[in-house]
Symmetry: C2
Subunit: 385 residues, 2 copies
C-alpha cells in the first residue's frame, strides 16, 4: 500500500506530518525503537507502550530485524504465532521490518546478481538471501512496512564499489517490487544508496523513485562518514524523493543527526543507540550524555533529569542507578532504557512543536550546543550483538 | 516497635491477619519478594508495585539483603539517599532487612563470641559483623523491620554444632535487643534456631521469646533437611511463639512449603525462588512448574497460564517467551519474573481466601497434588549470586 504523508506544518525543509497506513496512522517525525529479536533489550513491549513524553507523545512504531528473526525463531514460527504484532505483544501498533541486508553485509557475504550467501551467526549454516526471499520472509513476519534488500557499502569506499552497490540495489529493488504481494496491508519501501558520492546519491534516488515504492529510505549512512558528509549525501538523495511520501533515514538516532536530518526533510528514524547506551549506563539528558557509573553520582538524591516524567526519573535517585549500574544489576538496564527511550520521545516531541511554531532553528542551535561533542554512531553501531 | 497481628480468621492453626507497623499495615499471610541489592533482578520496584493478583492482592513488603548493601553501596550511602524506601523507589510501602547473617555464614567466617569475621565477596576486604553492628547498619538502611544477627548451621549437623549455634544466637539476640534504638519506627525480630532437633527448637523459641522481640522468625531451615523435618522443626518452634505477634519463616518460598507452613501458623515468607526460577525460564503455574525453553512451546499462541491476569499472560504467547528465553534475551527474564511474582501473589491470595472460608485443607490437598514433585529449596538456595 502506498503511504502518503499529510503535512500539517513545515519549517524550512522540515515537516510535521501524519502517515496513513492500512493499520491506521502515525505521527512524524517519528523515532522507531529497535526490537532486534522481537523484544527491546531490557524493556517489555507493554512497558514500551506505556512510555509517554510530557506532551503525550508515545512510541507508535517499532522496528524488528529480519536477519535475526528469519534464523530464530524463523519466519514460519512468527507467522504461526500470528505475525510480529501478536508475537511481540505490540498488538495493534505499527511495525516495520528491515530486509536483513544491513546485518548480512556486515558478515561479508558471497554476493552475486541473484543474492547474498552468508553463514548464520547462530549455527554456521549457509543461508542465501535474495530480494524475492527478503520480501517473502517479511510477508510472513507481517510488519506494516517492509524494506527491500539493498547492498550497503561501508565508508570510505571507491566509486567502483559504490557504483556496484548502487546498480545491484536498484536491480534488486525492482525485483523486490515485482515480488511484493501483500499490497493491501503491507507497504514496501525502496532504499537509496550511493555512499558519500552526491552524484550517485542523486542517481540512486531517481532510479529508485522510478520503480515507484510506497515510501523511501536513505540507507548506507552512519557507516564511517562524518556527520557533514552524511548530511550532504542525505540532501542529495532527498532532493529527488517525492514530497508526498514518507522519508526514512535508516540506522541513525543520535540527537544531533536526528534534528539535522529533520531539518532536511526526513520523517522517520530508527536506531539502537538509546537502548544500547542505556545498557552501558549512558543516559541522554537535556544537558547531554551522562555516565551514571561515575562516582560523583553515588550520593545524589536527584533524578537523572528533573524535567523528565519517565518512571525512572519519577521514582529513583541517581545514587540508586549508579549503584545498580556499577553492580551490573539487570534492573539498571531496565531503568536506563526507560529513561533513554522516554528522552528520545520527548526530544522528537520538542522537534514536532518547534516545526509547528516555526522555531526549529532555535532548537537546532541548542541541540548543536549540547550534543556537538557526541560523534555520529560508529560504523557497525546499527548491527546488534 | 512491637508488632501485633490482628487475626480476622483462622482455619486450624492457619491465620488470616493484618500486621500493624509504624508505617501502616500489611495483610498476612504475606510473601516478600527479595530485592537483594536494592532491586529485584529483572523487575523495577515501580513495576513490582503495579503487579496485582486477580483479587487485587499486591506486594506489600519487600526484603533487602544487609550483607550486600553494607558492602555496596554501604549503609552510609543508602542512609544519605533517604534510606531504603527512597533509595529503592519502593516509597511508602513496607521493607524488611535481614541481618546479613545467612550470607556471612555461607562464607564460613571466623566466629567468636564477639561476632563473625569474613572476607567481602566484592573486594576480599576483611569485615567483622557483630550483633550490635548488624543493628546499627540496619538502622541506617532504615527498613521497617530489622532481623537480629543469628548463627545458622547447615543440616545435617551434630547436636554439639546445633547447641553452639543456639547459644550464640540467643546471646547475640539479647545484645541486639539491647542495641536496638530506633524503637519508634523500626521493629526488631528475634530468630529461632535449633536445626532439626526438636528439643533445641523448643528451647531456642522459649529463650528468644524471653528476650521479648517485636516479632519472631524461624531461621536455619531449608538448609539441607527434608520438608517433613522442616515442618516438624517449625511446629516445635511455633508452639512457643506468642500468638499475638507475627511469625516469619525465613528463606522458604516454594508453594508446598508455604501452604504447609501457613497451616502451622506462619504469617510471613521470603524467598528468591520465584525470581531465580524466572531468570532460568521456569514458570510457576496452576499445573506446576513449566520450563518455557522446551521446544514444544515454540509454536504455542496460548499464554503461560490462561487464568493469570499478569501483563505477561495478557500480552505474550508462550512461543515468544520460549524464543526470548532460548536466545538469552533480557526481556525474557523481565516477563518471566512478572509472571512468577504475580503467580505467588495469586497463590497467597488463594490461601487467604481459603482460611477465610475454612477450606485450607482442600487447597492444601490440591497444592500437594500439583507440587509434590517439587523438592524444597536446596541448601544455599536462599543465598543470592
Amino acid at each position: 500500500m502506498r503511504l502518503n504523508i499529510k503535512v500539517s506544518a513545515t519549517d524550512g525543509q522540515a515537516r510535521r506530518g501524519q502517515v496513513t497506513t492500512a493499520r491506521g496512522s502515525f505521527q512524524t517525525p517519528v523515532f522507531m525503537p529497535v526490537a532486534t529479536r522481537g523484544a527491546i533489550r531490557g524493556l517489555s513491549t507493554h512497558e514500551l507502550a506505556s512510555l509517554s513524553a510530557k506532551g503525550g507523545t508515545r512510541a507508535e512504531i517499532l522496528l524488528a530485524n529480519t536477519y535475526h528473526l528469519m534464523l530464530r525463531p524463523t519466519a514460519d514460527v512468527v507467522e504461526q504465532l500470528g505475525g510480529l504484532h501478536d508475537f511481540t505483544g505490540w498488538g495493534d501498533r505499527h511495525m516495520l521490518t528491515d530486509s536483513g541486508g544491513f546485518q548480512v553485509f556486515s558478515l561479508q557475504p558471497k554476493t552475486d546478481d541473484e543474492g547474498a550467501t552468508f553463514r548464520s551467526t547462530y549455527d554456521g549454516a549457509k543461508v542465501k538471501l535474495t530480494p524475492e526471499l527478503a520480501v517473502r520472509i517479511q510477508e510472513r513476519l507481517g510488519a506494516d512496512i517492509q524494506m527491500v534488500l539493498d547492498v550497503c557499502a561501508g565508508l570510505p569506499a571507491s566509486t567502483t564499489v559504490l557504483r556496484e552497490a548502487l546498480e545491484r540495489t536498484v536491480d534488486w529493488a525492482a525485483r523486490a517490487k515485482a515480488a511484493h504481494r501483500r499490497i493491501e496491508d503491507q507497504s514496501l519501501f525502496g532504499i537509496v544508496q550511493g555512499g558519500d558520492n552526491l552524484e550517485l546519491r542523486r542517481e540512486s534516488a531517481q532510479r529508485t523513485v522510478e520503480i515507484d515504492f510506497d515510501g523511501y529510505a536513505v540507507g548506507g549512512l552512519s557507516v564511517g562518514e562524518t556527520r557533514e558528509q552524511m548530511m550532504e549525501s542525505l540532501e542529495a538523495a532527498i532532493e529527488h524523493l517525492p514530497s508526498d511520501q514518507p522519508r526514512y533515514l535508516m540506522g541513525v538516532g543520535d540527537p544531533l543527526s536526528i534534528i539535522e536530518a529533520v531539518a532536511r526533510g526526513v520523517d522517520m528514524f530508527d536506531c539502537v543507540l538509546p537502548t544500547r547506551l542505556a545498557r552501558h549506563g549512558t543516559l541522554l539528558t537535556s544537558e547531554g550524555r551522562l555516565n551514571i557509573k561515575r562516582a560523583e553520582y553515588a550520593r545524589v538524591t536527584d533524578p537523572v533529569d528533573p524535567d523528565c516524567n519517565c518512571a525512572t526519573c519519577v521514582n529513583y535517585p541517581r545514587g540508586l542507578l549508579r549503584h545498580l549500574t556499577t553492580q551490573g544489576e539487570l534492573t539498571a538496564q531496565i531503568l536506563c532504557t526507560i529513561h533513554n527511550l522516554t528522552w528520545i520521545l520527548s526530544f522528537v516531541e520538542d522537534i514536532r512543536s518547534a516545526i509547528e511554531s516555526g522555531t526549529l532553528e532555535t532548537l537546532r542551535a541548542a541541540t548543536v550546543q549540547t550534543w556537538q561533542q557526541m560523534s555520529p554512531e560508529r560504523k557497525g553501531e546499527g548491527f546488534p550483538q
